[in-house]
Symmetry: C2
Subunit: 197 residues, 2 copies
DNA sequence: TATTTTTAATTGACTGGTCAATCAACAAAA
DNA sequence: TTTTGTTGATTGACCAGTCAATTAAAAATA
């Protein structure tokens, strides 16, 4: 029973189904049929809208990236001081929406797939650069540029690491304690700087 | 031209081939034939010695784990103070053998596969617990247990995160700067403690 | 308004290719 | 002649991607 204007709805449903399918399987080893089934359509329709599977995966990754970006700008808008900007970025990465198990699984799976796919690698590059520059917007005003760069690198690594550990032993790093660890690192570094002055 | 005593040699060659194949492809999407080919044998022989593919993967993971464990005990033996023990563990994870690109790729790929495989998940659990306890052996003597636990968790996350970032944009975090970031975190935390006393 | 034509949505059936796993057979050492 | 090492050939399953065919809404035409 074809109703017009289905395309955007179907695209969105297929992308959502891709995230949840990957989240459950824990890897990109999900068939197009499986994804389409979850979205309530046939695999042929998925190919109709997205072409080859690879494109559906890229669209899904872009969605994940867009969601994270949206949350980030919203959080940064509320921050007034540099220190608050740092905390805002950390908080975003561990909020309920981003730190969901299926989302974390999807990110991890995409990291692996990116080794084989230039488009996916580019998208992850966008993510890494954006995280870095967001962190720098809070760090650069309060310390020398070089030092800020190092610290942004360390914070980013810690966030990625907590994601990976979340994927492994589910539950252990809950959102609050995970962001607490990163905040604690920031506090320690800032205290060290203040003391040395 | 069958010569006796080939089994251990073949097993080892197949495991090495698995690591390098996964390292190059960047994912576990390597065929048994590809692996066997690299080891200079037929795929049938791989199945003869390891049975299903899954078992070959497990054996490979165990090998990776054993190598890391071996390096760790060697490094810890040379450390005399608690602070040196911490540095020893950090150094091991970023030394030339462990931080090779293909090794890093293999670890990452196994992290993803572990979501689907109980045996692999168990093996990664062994790794996580061992890393944690090695770090604790350096941290526990110099701070309260709870605090040491937190810090071990943070260090471990940072190490894992640097691995993931290494896999993504190859080159950027070179061994020296990667371990430098972690050492810097440890120094900041210890300075913070010393200052607060 | 009634009728025809075009366009969008949708799927079942099919194809071609890939790959893990098996097996029967063979070669050489013990 | 038994055991160990080894492989080519084959099977069976799975799956991405294609295509022709179907339905109904929308637009155009009479």
């Amino acid at each position: 029973m074809p109703k017009i204007g289905m395309e955007p709805l179907r695209r969105r449903a297929l992308i959502d189904a891709t995230i949840s399918a990957i989240g459950e399987r824990g890897s990109l080893n999900v068939t197009v049929s499986e994804i389409a089934g979850r979205a309530g359509v046939s695999s042929a329709l998925a190919h109709h809208y997205f072409g080859p599977k690879e494109e559906l995966l890229q669209a899904t990754m872009r969605q994940l990236l867009a969601d994270l970006g949206h949350d980030s700008v919203a959080a940064l808008r509320k921050a007034t001081t540099p220190r608050e900007r740092i905390s805002a970025i950390i908080a975003v990465n561990f909020n309920a929406g981003q730190f969901r198990e299926e989302t974390v699984h999807a990110w991890l799976a995409f990291y692996v797939e990116a080794q084989n796919s230039l488009p996916l690698r580019r998208l992850l590059g966008v993510y890494a650069r954006r995280l870095h520059s967001n962190l720098m917007s809070g760090l650069a005003p309060i310390m020398p540029r070089a030092e800020a760069g190092q610290m942004a690198e360390a914070i980013a690594a810690m966030i990625d690491g907590l994601y990976i550990r979340r994927a492994l032993r589910d539950g252990l790093p809950n959102p609050a304690s995970a962001s607490g660890l990163v905040e604690d690192y920031v506090d320690a570094k800032l205290a060290q700087r203040a003391g040395a002055r």
